[in-house]
C-alpha cells in the first residue's frame, strides 16, 4: 500500500501524506455478529477519502467507530486500535465529547434540530463554551457563507430549520458541524437523500472545504462517479462470508484506473455492485 501511494507523487508530495488517523485491525460486532473485520488503513491528512462498496458491507458501521458513536448502539462492540495524533480513540479513557468535536459527522438524512436556523448553530457552540453572543453570531454568518446558505437564509435566521428544503437542511447540518471547527469530517452518503442539483451543490462544497480549510474528509458514497470526481483516496469494502472486509485502499487514480484487486476492477467497471 505504501508503495502504491509513492507511485502517485505528482498528486501528493510525500510530506503531505502524513497519516492523520491510523486504523489498525478494526472490527465491529453487533451482538457478537461481525459487521466488518480486521480493517487496517491510514487516513491521509488534508484529503478526501471515499469509501465505496455494496450495501450492507459495513461502511456506515466503520464511520461510527471513528468518533465512538458506536457507543450509543446497544449490543455494539468494537475491537482494534484507532490512533488520532496522540489520542487513542477506542480507549475507555478518551473524552468522547472532545473527540466528537474534533471529528464531525454528517448523516445521510439531513437532521437539523427542531429549532430556529440560527439556534441550530449557536446552541452547539454554547454547549462547547463559546460564551460571547457576538462571537457566536459571527461564526453563524461565517459558516453559513461557507456552505453557501447565507444569501438564502440571512433574512429568516429565526425560522424553524425544519422549513428548509432538503438540500438546505443538509448544508445547515454541515454548517453547524463546521462551526465547531472539527479536524475531520465524516460523511455518510451526504448526497443520497438529495436531488441532483442539491447533490451537486453539496459535492462542490465538499471540494471547497478541502481546498480552503484543508479538512480531512471521509465520505461514504454509493455513487462511483461522485467518488471519482472528489476523492483523493478510495477504499472498497466488500462482504466476504457474511462479514465486511477492506478489499483495497489506494489513491483514487490508481483505484479507478489500475486497481490491484480483481474485485475492485469488476466493481469500478460496473460488473459488480
Amino acid at each position: 500500500m505504501t508503495k502504491s501511494i509513492h507511485n502517485n507523487l505528482d498528486r501528493h508530495k510525500i510530506a503531505e501524506i502524513q497519516p492523520l488517523m491510523q486504523i489498525h485491525q478494526l472490527s465491529l460486532f453487533y451482538n457478537q455478529k461481525p459487521a466488518f473485520k480486521d480493517v487496517t488503513l491510514s487516513i491521509p491528512q488534508n484529503s478526501i477519502t471515499a469509501i465505496v462498496g455494496a450495501s450492507g458491507c459495513g461502511k456506515s458501521s466503520f464511520l461510527i467507530c471513528l468518533n465512538r458513536l458506536s457507543d450509543l448502539i446497544p449490543g455494539c462492540t468494537v475491537s482494534g486500535h484507532i490512533q488520532l495524533g496522540t489520542l487513542n480513540i477506542l480507549s475507555p479513557k478518551a473524552n468522547t465529547t472532545a473527540l466528537r468535536r474534533r471529528i464531525g459527522t454528517i448523516f445521510q438524512k439531513p437532521n437539523p434540530f427542531p429549532m430556529s436556523i440560527k439556534k441550530n448553530i449557536t446552541f452547539p457552540l454554547k454547549e462547547h463554551g463559546v460564551k460571547d453572543s457576538q462571537q457566536r453570531h459571527n461564526i453563524v454568518e461565517q459558516v453559513l457563507k461557507d456552505v453557501g446558505l447565507w444569501s438564502e437564509v440571512k433574512d429568516r435566521l429565526q425560522d424553524n430549520a425544519l422549513t428548509l428544503s432538503g438540500g438546505q437542511k443538509q448544508r445547515l447540518c454541515i454548517a453547524r458541524t463546521l462551526a465547531l471547527q472539527p479536524e475531520i469530517l465524516l460523511m455518510d452518503e451526504p448526497c443520497s437523500a438529495l436531488d441532483p442539483i442539491s447533490s451537486g451543490i453539496v459535492e462542490d462544497l465538499i471540494l471547497r472545504l478541502r481546498q480552503k480549510y484543508n479538512y480531512t474528509i471521509i465520505i461514504v458514497t454509493h455513487n462511483l462517479a461522485q467518488a471519482k470526481r472528489i476523492a483523493d483516496y478510495t477504499a472498497l469494502f466488500w462482504v466476504d462470508k457474511g462479514c465486511g472486509r477492506l478489499i483495497e485502499f489506494a489513491p483514487a487514480e490508481q483505484f479507478f484506473n489500475a486497481p490491484n484487486n480483481e474485485l475492485t476492477k469488476a466493481y469500478v467497471n460496473g460488473i459488480k455492485g
Binding site: R100, G104, F107, N111, P112, F113, M115, P124, E127, L180
Partner: protein, 296 residues
C-alpha cells in the same frame, strides 16, 4: 345496491369485499355514535337533576351563600372547590416534574433491565385500585402526618396520595412521548459532542412538548375525578383550609358522602357540583385536543 364511489370499467366481481367494508364502516359509525350519545345523556341527566335547585336559588347562591348547609338552604360550594382545586394543584405540581424526570431516567440513563423493570412497576402502580391507595394513606400516611401536625387527615395527605395515583399517568405518557423523539436528533446531538443535559433540555423536551402537555391534562383530569382515596385521607371537613395540615373536603368526596341520604334541593345541589366537575373535565379534554392539533 350500494356501489363503491370509484368508477369501475369492469363488472364488480368482488362486490362482497366492498359490501364488507360498507358494513364495517357503518358498524363503527354506529358504535361511536352510541359512545357520543351516552356522554350527551349523562350531561342531559345531570342538567335535569341540577335544574330544580338552580331555578330556585340561582347559580350565584353556590358561590355566595354563608356555608354548605343544604338543610338550612345554604349551598356554598366554594370551600369544596378549594378542596378539589388545592389537592389537584398540589398533586399535579408534584407529580409532573417527578413523572417527567423519572421518564427521562428510564429512557436515557437507566440500563435496559432496570428501565424495563421500572416501567413494569409504574404500570403496576397505575393498576392499583384507588381504595387501596386510600387504605394505605389512612394507615401509614395519616398517622405520620399526625405526629408532625394533628389531626393527620389533611390536605397534605390528600395531595400525597393523589400524587402517587397520578404519577403513573404522567410517567407513562412522558415515556411514550420521549420514545417518539426522532432518533436522528439524538444521533446528531451526540455526533456534535453535546451534553446529555443540553440535549434533553433543548431538543428532547421541546420535541416532546405536546405529548407532555397531554399528559399533564390527563393527570389533572384524573386528580379532579378521584374520589375514594381522597375521601379516606382528607378528613372531609367543609372548610377553606388555612394550611396544608387542615382537613378539607373535595367536591367528589362531598357527592359520595351525601348522596345516600340527600333529598330534594340537597340532592339537586349535589348534581350541580357534578355538573361543575364534568364542565372542568370537558374544558380539559378540549384543551388536550387543541394541544394535539397544534402539534400536527
Amino acid at each position: 345496491m350500494w356501489k363503491p364511489k370509484t368508477l369501475s370499467l369492469f363488472p364488480l366481481r368482488n362486490w362482497f369485499k366492498y359490501r364488507k367494508d360498507f358494513l364495517l364502516v357503518w358498524l363503527l359509525r354506529g358504535l361511536s355514535a352510541i359512545a357520543g350519545i351516552v356522554i350527551l345523556l349523562i350531561l342531559g341527566f345531570l342538567l335535569r337533576e341540577a335544574l330544580p335547585v338552580l331555578e330556585e336559588v340561582g347559580i350565584t347562591a353556590f358561590f355566595r351563600d354563608d356555608s354548605w348547609n343544604p338543610g338550612e338552604k345554604s349551598y356554598n360550594l366554594v370551600p369544596m372547590i378549594w378542596g378539589t382545586g388545592l389537592t389537584m394543584m398540589g398533586a399535579v405540581l408534584l407529580a409532573t416534574p417527578l413523572g417527567i424526570v423519572s421518564a427521562l431516567f428510564c429512557h436515557y440513563y437507566a440500563p435496559m433491565p432496570i428501565a424495563s423493570l421500572y416501567r413494569r412497576l409504574i404500570e403496576l402502580l397505575a393498576g392499583i385500585p384507588s381504595v387501596v391507595y386510600g387504605f394505605w394513606g389512612l394507615v401509614v400516611l395519616v398517622p405520620l402526618i399526625n405526629r408532625l401536625h394533628p389531626p393527620g387527615t389533611s390536605l397534605l395527605a390528600g395531595i400525597a396520595v393523589l400524587t402517587l395515583m397520578i404519577l403513573p399517568t404522567i410517567t407513562l405518557v412522558a415515556d411514550a412521548s420521549f420514545a417518539k423523539v426522532p432518533p436522528e436528533y439524538l444521533m446528531g446531538a451526540a455526533a456534535m459532542g453535546l451534553s446529555s443535559w443540553g440535549t434533553i433540555w433543548q431538543i428532547v423536551i421541546p420535541s416532546a412538548k405536546s405529548g407532555l402537555f397531554t399528559g399533564v391534562i390527563l393527570e389533572t383530569g384524573r386528580a379532579i375525578g378521584e374520589t375514594m382515596a381522597v375521601l379516606m385521607v382528607c378528613g372531609n371537613v367543609v372548610q377553606t383550609p388555612d394550611s396544608i395540615f387542615d382537613p378539607v373536603r373535595t367536591l367528589t368526596a362531598n357527592i359520595a358522602l351525601e348522596m345516600a341520604y340527600a333529598l330534594d334541593n340537597h340532592r339537586s345541589a349535589l348534581f350541580v357540583s357534578g355538573l361543575l366537575l364534568l364542565g372542568v373535565i370537558i374544558v380539559l379534554a378540549i384543551a388536550a385536543e387543541l394541544v394535539d392539533r397544534e402539534a400536527s
